[in-house]
């Protein structure tokens, strides 16, 4: 497997491996099999694939019904539609009814670039985290995505997984991908600044730590792929060692990773917390990378912000 594998491709790879021996693994799409990279699954396991057409409420409701009769349901749809058009189904049919549905939000954040705000999901962390019983995961690379999906296949609880559209440089390697379910992954530990990131921002946080190291600044990097349940212990432990805490996310500044980090740091080890996120506005037109660069969501941008805060 090449190094740059999109997380959505990895999700389907893991599900195809599982489906070979488990007839209860069912993938559902809302005219989204191509964009979800689920076409190989649909072709290999037609009896375990359900197409619902462009009907996201139906997608989640049907997934919940399937789960109720013993299926492991994996509805896949663009994160923007899955988490807002289907929000009530996620709340009532999945979380409240406690069905074994793993909601897979593809092309999350600003993955759809120039397609505009209708296709961006910059509020999915806030929305899904606010539902009691819903877990929220944003894996940072394909290797972590594999670990996460394998763990999710083993449990019976509702969850939401957000991944981006594009293949991104990996944070980990196939051989070295430390993973413990619902515990953040500590990439490095430092004493000046604590960087907490999720999803595609982890790679940039890791890059920022390297830049800072070159300038004599010691940084921790926490990969908070498990936004909910939030690993408070790890954040509190590493934040307590640092002078400044910076959260980085591809999400609105309201109710996302930064809000949770600020709550925990405020309660347990008060010190300055800086939230780096998308703006509370439709984002500038561009590819993901262009958008990130515009708002300083890059290794250089994060390092610069850290240096300013420490000055």
């Amino acid at each position: 497997m090449g190094k740059n594998v999109a997380n959505k491709v990895m999700i389907n790879t893991v599900l195809m491996e599982a489906a070979k021996n488990d007839r209860d693994v069912v993938v559902l799409c809302s005219d989204s099999r191509g964009s979800a990279s689920a076409t190989p699954f649909a072709e290999a396991f037609p009896g375990q694939f359900v197409e619902v057409g462009i009907a996201e409420q139906d997608l989640v409701g049907i997934a919940a019904g399937l789960a109720r009769v013993g299926k492991k349901a994996f509805p896949m749809s663009p994160a923007c539609f899955l988490t807002t058009r289907s929000y009530e189904q996620c709340k009532v049919d999945v979380a409240y009814s406690h069905t074994n549905v793993k909601l897979i939000g593809i092309s999350g954040g600003v993955s759809y670039g120039a397609l505009g705000m209708s296709h961006h999901s910059a509020q999915d962390i806030a929305a899904m985290s606010a539902i009691p019983g819903m877990r929220v995961y944003l894996p940072s690379d394909c290797h972590q995505t594999r670990c996460l999906m394998e763990a999710l296949l083993r449990d019976q609880e509702p969850a939401y997984v957000r991944v981006g559209r594009n293949a991104v440089d990996p944070v980990y390697t196939e051989e070295d991908c430390p993973f413990e379910m619902d515990r953040a992954t500590v990439i490095c530990e430092g004493t000046d600044v604590c960087l907490v990131a999720c999803g595609e921002m982890v790679l940039y946080a890791k890059g920022a730590a390297e830049i800072l190291k070159g300038k004599g600044v010691s940084a921790s990097v926490i990969d908070m792929y498990c936004v909910k349940p939030f690993d408070e212990e790890t954040v509190a432990a590493l934040a307590a060692k640092a002078r400044v805490v910076i959260s980085v996310e591809e999400h609105s500044p309201y109710g996302g990773l930064g809000s949770r980090v600020a709550q925990v740091v405020g309660e347990r080890c008060p010190r300055p917390v800086i939230t780096m996120a998308l703006p509370d506005a439709p984002v500038v037109t561009g590819t993901s990378k262009e958008v990130f660069a515009h708002y300083g969501l890059t290794a250089e941008g994060i390092a610069e912000r850290a240096l300013k805060a420490l000055a």
Binding site: I62, G70, Q89, D93
Partner: protein, 276 residues
């Protein structure tokens, strides 16, 4: 159970519903009364669900999409032995009670939580597809209200059920013609609702008197024989059925009877049970 006994049972359970609502100080009494005959036929004639078989592979499934008529469902499930009648009558809507104002699956006998309208049909479609995948002969039933037909997700589910030829799925529409703001045709006209369902690829069974147990039994029987498409029973029912005090009155969608109304309703229901 004979048709007469089913009818008598429906009036007995209507009294439980009224008592539950009095004790709980509120409830969706009108829709309870229109739908309870269908629930009694489903649980005491049509479906194979019992406390002993509930949750076992291959059982029939039931989703109460018009979840606000939960009092009728509670009365039926208690009679079926899923939980104590005395307990539900005493605890409905009380502080800390498991018997809340909409179905929840922490209670035995209830598979899916509902309350937000338009959710039940897609969920039932998922159950029907899943049981087909499982290779069982299970049937899935879902009860909807007529005001609920304005929810777009109902029609998403309707399309999917026909697309997948779900002849193991049977929907029930409680067509009592009234919703909380008034006549359905004035709030959001359903027009020819039978034609709408037919055009979505469903086998439509029009039940002239949806509070008549004989008609309900034969309609469910007809649905079982349909192959290659889902069926829907359009039940022409009376909101508030059982007492002139509340029949066909939109204001009784959610209403707490006064003491005088309560006495009159209970007298009417007892009389109807005796005459059944």
């Amino acid at each position: 159970m004979t048709e007469t006994n089913l009818k008598k049972l429906s009036y007995e359970l209507r009294r439980d519903v009224v008592q539950m609502i009095i004790n709980g100080k509120g409830g969706h009494i009108g829709g309870d009364m229109s739908v309870i005959d269908a629930l009694v036929v489903l649980y005491f004639h049509e479906m194979g669900v019992t406390p002993a078989t509930f949750g076992k592979p291959g059982q029939d499934h039931f989703v109460m999409s018009k979840g606000h008529s939960v009092e009728a469902l509670y009365a039926v499930l208690a009679k079926k032995g899923f939980f104590s009648r005395e307990k539900v009558l005493a605890e409905f809507s009380q502080f800390g009670s498991p018997f809340i104002g909409h179905p929840n699956n922490k209670l035995p006998g209830i598979e899916m939580n509902s309350g937000a309208l338009g959710h039940g049909l897609p969920v039932a479609v998922g159950m029907a597809i899943g049981e087909r995948m499982n290779g069982t002969k299970s049937r899935t039933y879902v009860v909807m209200g007529d005001g609920e037909q304005a929810e777009g997700s109902v029609w998403e589910g309707a399309m999917a059920a026909a697309n997948y030829h779900l002849d193991n799925l049977c929907a029930v529409l409680d067509r009592n013609t009234l919703q909380i703001s008034g006549d359905t045709e004035n709030v959001m006209a359903l027009l020819d609702i039978n034609k709408k369902w037919e055009s979505f690829g469903w086998h439509v069974i029009d039940v002239a008197d949806g509070n008549d147990h004989g008609q309900l039994i034969s309609a469910f029987g007809e649905a079982r024989l349909v192959k290659g498409k889902p069926s829907i029973l359009i039940l022409h029912t009376v909101k508030g059925k059982g007492s002139k005090v509340m029949e066909n009155k939109a204001a009784w969608h959610h209403h707490l009877p006064t003491l005088d109304e309560y006495k009159a309703i209970m007298d009417d229901l007892e009389k109807a049970e005796k005459e059944a």
